[in-house]
């Protein structure tokens, strides 16, 4: 399983990671090795096997519709890298 540079770039873009050229090469090589390794799963016929998403035998975990106090706005914004008044501030979003 060889991952092309284009694949690496595509995935990096999806994951919002900017990679330098040498990183693209390094990650490409390492990911290819790992994907080569995981191919061993294909040895198994899983046609009739149900997937496991949860190991807990739970269903319908719900709460009542009760309003609870929100955080004070100052606590909400305390960790904000950049704020403007009571808002979080980010570089201009282009629609």
């Amino acid at each position: 399983m060889k991952i092309s540079k284009k694949d690496v770039e595509h995935v990096a873009k999806l994951a919002r990671l900017r990679l330098a050229e040498e990183e693209k090469e390094k990650f490409g090589k390492q990911l290819s090795e790992i994907l080569e390794y995981v191919k061993k799963l294909n040895e198994l016929d899983t046609e009739k096997v149900e997937p496991t998403s949860h190991v807990v035998p739970l269903k319908n975990v719900m709460r009542e519709d009760e309003v609870r106090p929100s955080l004070p706005v100052e606590d909400v914004l305390r960790n904000a890298p950049v704020r403007e008044g009571k808002y979080f501030k980010v570089p201009k979003i282009i629609q």
């Binding site: 975990v61 929100s70 909400v76």
Partner: protein, 483 residues
């Protein structure tokens, strides 16, 4: 060659639960920025969602009202994409197993019923709100408010079944009526609690394959949806006529310019990398619960419209107007219960009440005049205590003051004169003063009595009971002719 319009809608409706879908923050609109947020809806590290039961109940109500099949097993998935208003940079939604599918909603087009199919309805969380440009006064930055993040949403996805603007409008109206009837969404488009996205394509008449479709966003009112569709219809038709192709893309409606424009920065098809939400367990809808919800559903607009026609003998038009929203229909039915004359009530509600509400820009819920007031007034008319003409003044007075009909009539001294002795005097006076008409009447011109009745009414400023006047006039005139 003629072209056919093909439209499918994606409707986002915010559910009006008290708290958000996965945390206890309030869903109220218009709070101070970021004041209705907590670690969960802010997506802080380490937090986990817990599903609000009422959200599921409301969503099932909507699905049942839209004739959907309810999945016994459903679950939540993560839809992964980056946007500053999306706190976790994934949205908890339902992709693989939505909770409802294969539904429909009927609309009536020129007297015929048309069925619009609903592909599926799924549950998800709303995002926060980004503010740009003119809203912020900042040239190089945008601002983010997360109050709306985590407000429960249902997304209703129709099949591409609508082929005219009229059909789209009818569908939107019906859908809104249903949601309002169910009491699960306040449908305030200006606040974003009901939002439409349209997929639109054109194809040559008779062609069964679908053309390339354009996805339209930023449609903030029914009017905008229709305007945008109309514009886009024309644009696509022109392209096709010139032998060009329509680019499948996402476009935004620019209300100021009155045109659509392509959304920038979306050149690639999105890859949402859906996978089952590991922080939530499966939703298995118990048949008992489903039954309970089914039984608690209110009567829906279309059924109510039919019933009102049958039960109260009112025309289709009246019934359609009266059932357009639930509080209005409730008002009507309550009045009819107190005053069992369907047509009379519907006339007064449709003409006088709706007229006045419109003038004052009020909703039926805010009307100072209540069903008991109207019924009382109608009873006064029926009992001959007021005339139809006086009734209009009584109505106006009740509407302004919120007082009952009897009180108004009493206070204003508007009761009809039904006292024979008092009336006799006035009748005799009119006979004395109008010898010409009396002569005409006695000479066989029976119509002349109408003039004399009118004169009595004028004298009493409309308060005379017309039947009594008629009776007294005839008695007097006949006595006179024998003399």
């Amino acid at each position: 060659m003629n072209y056919q319009l093909v439209v499918g809608l994606e409707v986002h409706a915010e559910l009006s639960t008290g708290s958000k879908v996965f945390c206890g923050c309030p869903t109220r609109f218009g709070g101070e920025p970021n004041s209705q947020t907590c670690p969960v809806c802010l997506g802080l590290p380490g937090v986990l969602p817990v599903l609000n039961k009422k959200v599921v109940e409301y969503a099932i109500r909507a699905a049942l009202a839209m004739n959907c099949e309810i999945s016994r097993h459903s679950r939540f998935d993560r839809k992964n994409y980056y946007y500053p208003d999306l706190p976790k940079n994934y949205q908890i939604s339902q992709n693989y197993l939505p909770f409802a599918y294969n539904g429909h909603l009927n609309i009536s087009i020129k007297g015929a019923v048309k069925r619009i199919d609903i592909d599926n309805i799924h549950l998800e969380e709303d995002a926060g709100k980004n503010l740009h440009g003119e809203d912020t006064g900042l040239a190089e930055d945008s601002l983010v408010d997360f109050n709306r993040a985590g407000v429960p949403l249902i997304e209703i996805v129709t099949r591409p079944d609508m082929h005219s603007l009229e059909e789209v409008e009818k569908f939107m109206t019906n859908l809104r009526d249903v949601l309002l009837y169910l009491g699960i969404c306040d449908c305030r488009m200006e606040e974003g609690s009901l939002r439409f996205e349209a997929n639109i394509s054109m194809r040559p008449e008779g062609e069964s394959r679908l053309g390339n479709r354009v996805e339209m966003k930023n449609l903030n009112s029914f009017k905008m949806v229709l305007k945008a569709l109309e514009y886009e219809m024309g644009r696509q038709e022109n392209l096709l006529r010139e032998g060009k192709t329509v680019q499948p893309e996402t476009m935004l409606w620019d209300e100021a310019k009155g045109m659509t424009s392509a959304m920038r920065g979306k050149e690639e098809a999105p890859d949402y990398r859906y996978f089952p939400e590991p922080d939530l367990v499966p939703l298995v809808i118990d048949p008992e619960w489903l039954k309970e919800i089914k039984e608690s559903l209110p009567e829906l607009p279309q059924a109510r419209e039919m019933r009102l026609m049958k039960e109260y003998g009112i025309p289709e038009y009246d019934s359609a107007v009266l059932t357009a929203n639930r509080p209005l229909a409730d008002f009507y039915e309550e009045t009819v219960r107190l005053f069992p004359n369907g047509k009379m009530v519907s006339n007064w509600v449709m003409v006088e009440l709706l007229g006045r509400l419109k003038e004052r820009n009020l909703k039926i819920e805010d009307s100072p005049l209540r069903p008991s007031h109207l019924a009382e007034m109608l009873t006064l008319i029926k009992d001959g205590l007021i005339s139809g003409k006086i009734a209009k003044d009584v109505f106006t007075e009740m509407f302004t003051s919120g007082k009952g009909a009897r009180i108004v009539v009493e206070e204003k001294g508007w009761a009809q004169i039904s006292d024979e002795s008092q009336m006799k005097e006035i009748v005799e006076e009119v006979i004395r003063e109008n010898p010409k008409s009396v002569e005409d009447f006695q000479g066989g011109k029976k119509k002349a009595i109408t003039f004399l009745v009118g004169q009595v009414m004028k004298e009493t400023r409309g308060k005379a009971n017309p039947q009594l006047v008629n009776k007294l006039l005839r008695e007097k005139l006949q006595i006179k002719s024998k003399m």
